[in-house]
Symmetry: C2
Subunit: 130 residues, 2 copies
């Protein structure tokens, strides 16, 4: 299976998780390839709206381009949603991180498995109404 | 161009209209073909969220299945969005209708060009903050 297909499968898995937990969630068409900023997933429980950028990682480390992060921020501010990063590490499952938890380097942002495990939320924590 | 491609083009046209007018809008992936209810388009100006089902019509008449309408309603209630129908008639452009403006028949809902012209909103009216 291609890396892209694996990514889409991971997004679908997240969509199922949301619906299973009484949230609504949709995948955004053409995210990452169209001219307007857009997240991979939009989810809501009516009160909270989440704009989510998803990634899968085979190693213990994952990059995000500055453009991806700034577009996620811009979209969320304009849409009225919280910005979240969802990252799935091989054999470790999903971690949900806010943008402040990403480490900014000169050209991009990165997240390590170590930081994800220390700062990331599990799905059940993410959807707890705050 | 296939009817489906024309439909997607029409959706893209609407997306452009929203962004041009300082709104955000995304197309939903796999809308109509996936197991969860979902609209074709989600748009927001931060305050208002719109869940939109889009249709194009070559004639002066267009059907909507009861399932399409009930799923749009369900999604909107759970997501926290207004439900809207966007219908583009040949050479007449876009009309935006709320669900109450659809005529319910025994098996489905329908909208005629006549009703669209009398009850439908133009895009500029749709996005006026109420």
């Amino acid at each position: 299976m291609s890396y892209k297909s694996k990514g889409i499968n991971a997004e679908r898995e997240l969509i199922h998780l949301f619906w299973k937990n009484e949230w609504t969630a949709v995948r955004v068409a053409g995210s990452g390839s169209q001219k307007y900023p857009s997240p991979d997933i939009l989810a809501s429980n009516n009160l909270r709206k989440l704009a989510i950028e998803t990634k899968i990682s085979k190693s213990s480390y994952r990059h995000f381009s500055s453009k991806e992060i700034s577009e996620l921020k811009e979209f969320s501010e304009r849409f009225g949603a919280e910005s979240w990063i969802a990252i799935k590490f091989n054999r470790k499952g999903w971690f949900f991180l806010s943008l402040e938890d990403l480490k900014e380097t000169e050209a991009n942002y990165s997240i390590s498995l170590d930081i994800a495990e220390r700062k990331g939320l599990a799905f059940s924590d993410l959807i707890e109404t705050r």
